[in-house]
């Protein structure tokens, strides 16, 4: 519509109106999509909001209908109850031990293994690749019952090293896969250059390759932390001693025994959720790089 001097007014008119209607339609469309997005965000955010909102109100405000969406008085009573009157601190500690063990074991084994699979000439790599992905597909329940049968034979039921090993089995395949792929993004020539400079191969590995693999290692650490912190099926099956339960299993006991109020239960939930949020918030930039290289998940 560069020439505004068309003689045929009618045509110009219709062209113009077609354009505006296209624009308004476009605007309406964008507005509709924005509304959908808002709806999705609210649907996702509301349960979380409700969790914190419940956790922050006193017992008296829990059982009223209709409940106010925002607590009328903010109180930390539920958190206090949780830490003083229940086994929550034990569960929390157990979860931390479990997570630390799994993260340490997984990150070490996956980093070493990923390096070996990338850099060392070994036969049957194709078979290894398939086995790893097959291991990744294994759901926890299909490992839990076998492990229970096997663990009982070894007398490892109710043992923390046993649980850590078991949970590591569910976090290792994908972690190994991620590190395998990650080391391939680290140019081999960096290590070769170190070797030419006189460094033995192992030194080139820990002085050059390892620092380069840091984003991948952080991604693996966070991933395996998430698996360990999430673990419910394996500890349920493998740990019968309640003093050894992690948070995920312990909170269920609160429910079944009616030992605490829903408020305290939500406070427990909130505490279980916060570390994950913090990790991801602070390590975002590493996670993106690490996971991008890892693919699949």
């Amino acid at each position: 519509m560069s020439s505004g001097h068309s003689n045929d007014d009618g045509e110009e008119q219709s062209l113009f109106s077609a354009m505006t209607s296209y624009q308004t339609r476009g605007k309406a469309y964008t507005g509709f999509l924005n509304l959908l997005t808002l709806g999705a965000v609210l649907l996702i955010a509301f349960p979380l909001f409700w969790m914190f909102s419940t956790a922050l109100r006193p017992d008296a405000a829990l059982y009223t209908t209709p409940s106010s969406l925002i607590p009328e008085t903010v109180s930390f009573e539920q958190f206090r109850t949780l830490f003083t009157n229940t086994d929550f601190p034990t569960y929390l500690l157990n979860s931390i031990i479990l997570a630390a063990g799994v993260v340490g074991l997984t990150t070490t084994a996956a980093t070493l293994g990923g390096y070996g699979l990338t850099r060392i000439d070994i036969p049957h790599k194709k078979f290894f690749a398939r086995t790893i992905i097959f291991g990744y597909m294994f759901p926890p329940i299909l490992l839990a019952i076998p492990m229970f049968i096997f663990w009982r034979k070894l007398g490892m039921i109710n043992s923390y090293p046993g649980l850590i090993l078991a949970v590591t089995a569910t976090s290792l395949p994908f972690s190994l896969w991620m590190m395998w792929k990650f080391f391939q993004t680290v140019p081999k020539s960096l290590e070769e250059s170190a070797m030419m400079a006189g460094a033995p191969r192992f030194r080139a590995f820990y002085e050059i390759a390892l620092p380069m693999a840091k984003p991948g290692m952080i991604a693996v650490a966070v991933f395996s932390y998430a698996i360990a912190w999430n673990a419910y099926t394996l500890p349920t099956v493998l740990m019968s001693d309640s003093s050894k339960w992690p948070l995920t299993v312990g909170i269920q006991a609160f429910l079944q025994t009616d030992a605490i109020s829903w408020g305290a239960l939500m406070a427990a939930n909130a505490i279980a959720v916060i570390p994950s949020f913090l990790f991801v918030f602070f390590l975002q930039k590493y996670l993106l790089r690490g996971f991008r290289a890892g693919g699949v998940k």
Partner: protein
């Protein structure tokens, strides 16, 4: 480690062979090659990609294990020494500076590995950085400096190592044309300063021609020819070397030997006769199928010669000259002519070439048979008579 002399620092690649196992079977990357590199020599391995030049260098470095053959440093067989024990320095195609270390620590890394104290190794690194004119970058990370500066740092790192030999694997291939020339000069400067055997790998014949004392042209895992840049240019051993060395590359025309006499040889090309005066007692006889090779500089498009002609299809200007592509009796011929020549695309011009600069190759084997009898060589021959 004193200033070692002569042969102690020479390198011998003795009947080196390297095979790789692939799913499709064994591939021979390097096929029994033999090269000797003098103690102060700059030798370039040049060839198209996949010719085995990089594999040869990596075997030399100790990064690949040869299938058979030996690498000798002086008289010592180093074939079984791992890369870190050979004390060769290497520059890589992708530069290979460690991204997590500052430039100064990158340069000093070979000394760190040798257990030199931080202070001492930083001093050496600064010295080397001064030579490379990158002192102001020492505290930056490789990601923060330009491509040319990274190359300088990588070069400084090899210098600091004070190695027994320098190995360079296409270090300039990722640089733009101007930087290439700049860093090329730096590498030559370093070579002249430290005087150690240097093996340089490139696919760029121009790089090879300008930098090297000698060049080994490789193809299909073997060596086609080793010689000085002049030898390769003027006396190519075969068709492969002839077309690989020189830019724009040599023109070729198929011919058949018609007569051989004391005066010379006449060859029929596209039903026309070309009379040649050849330098050697050329082993040619009637009916031999040959290929005539002549460089674009020796082609003239204004003098009527044996009667060849063609149409100009493309004119490219290069500095003060023009490169004309002519399509005609001899197929596609390229000629370098003066930029002042009044030539246009579409002109039909006569084609002739200076027969004293011609090369005759065997069409079957590709081997060089004879060269044109140039005034200089003729004079030498007369003197001998």
């Amino acid at each position: 480690m004193s200033q070692t002399t002569s042969t102690a620092n020479s390198i011998t690649i003795d009947t080196l062979r390297k095979e790789f196992n692939t799913p499709d079977g064994t591939v021979v990357a390097v096929d029994s090659i033999h090269i000797e590199i003098g103690p102060e020599e700059f030798l370039t391995l040049v060839g198209p990609s996949g010719c085995g030049k990089t594999t040869t260098l990596r075997c030399l470095a100790g990064l690949e294990t040869p299938t058979s053959g030996e690498i000798r440093l002086g008289n010592r067989d180093v074939s079984d020494l791992p890369a870190n024990k050979r004390d060769f320095a290497m520059m890589f195609q992708n530069i290979a500076l460690y991204p997590h270390m500052k430039i100064i620590d990158n340069i000093a890394y070979p000394l760190k590995v040798r257990g030199v104290s931080t202070q001492e190794r930083h001093e050496h690194a600064k010295e080397a950085a001064e030579i490379m004119q990158i002192t102001d970058l020492l505290n930056k990370y490789p990601g923060e400096v330009s491509g040319g500066q990274r190359q300088r740092a990588a070069l400084a790192r090899t210098v600091v190592q004070n190695p027994k030999a320098f190995l360079m694997d296409e270090p300039l291939s990722d640089l733009d044309a101007k930087l290439k020339v700049e860093i090329r000069k730096e590498i030559q400067r370093v070579h002249q300063r430290v005087k150690r055997p240097t093996v340089y790998v490139t696919h760029d014949q121009e790089e090879a021609m300008t930098m090297s004392d000698r060049i080994a042209v490789m193809n299909n895992g073997g060596i086609e020819q080793i010689g000085t840049p002049n030898e390769l240019y003027n006396e190519p051993a075969n068709l492969f070397v002839a077309q690989f060395i020189g830019n724009p590359s040599m023109n070729f025309a198929d011919g058949t030997v018609e007569t051989v006499s004391t005066d010379g040889v006449s060859v029929s090309v596209d039903e026309r006769i070309v009379d040649l005066s050849l330098n050697a007692e050329a082993d040619l006889s009637m009916g031999d199928e040959v290929v005539l090779g002549f460089r674009p500089e020796t082609v003239s498009l204004d003098t009527a010669g044996p009667g060849f002609e063609g149409e100009i299809t493309l004119i490219e200007r290069i500095d003060d000259r023009m490169l004309a592509t002519v399509e005609g009796d001899l197929g596609e011929i390229r000629a370098t002519v003066s930029a002042d020549d009044p030539l246009n695309v579409g002109d039909v011009v006569p084609i002739s070439f200076d027969t004293s600069h011609i090369h005759v190759f065997d069409r079957d084997t590709g081997e060089h048979i004879a060269s044109g009898d140039r005034p200089s060589t003729r004079r030498a021959k007369r003197g001998a008579e």
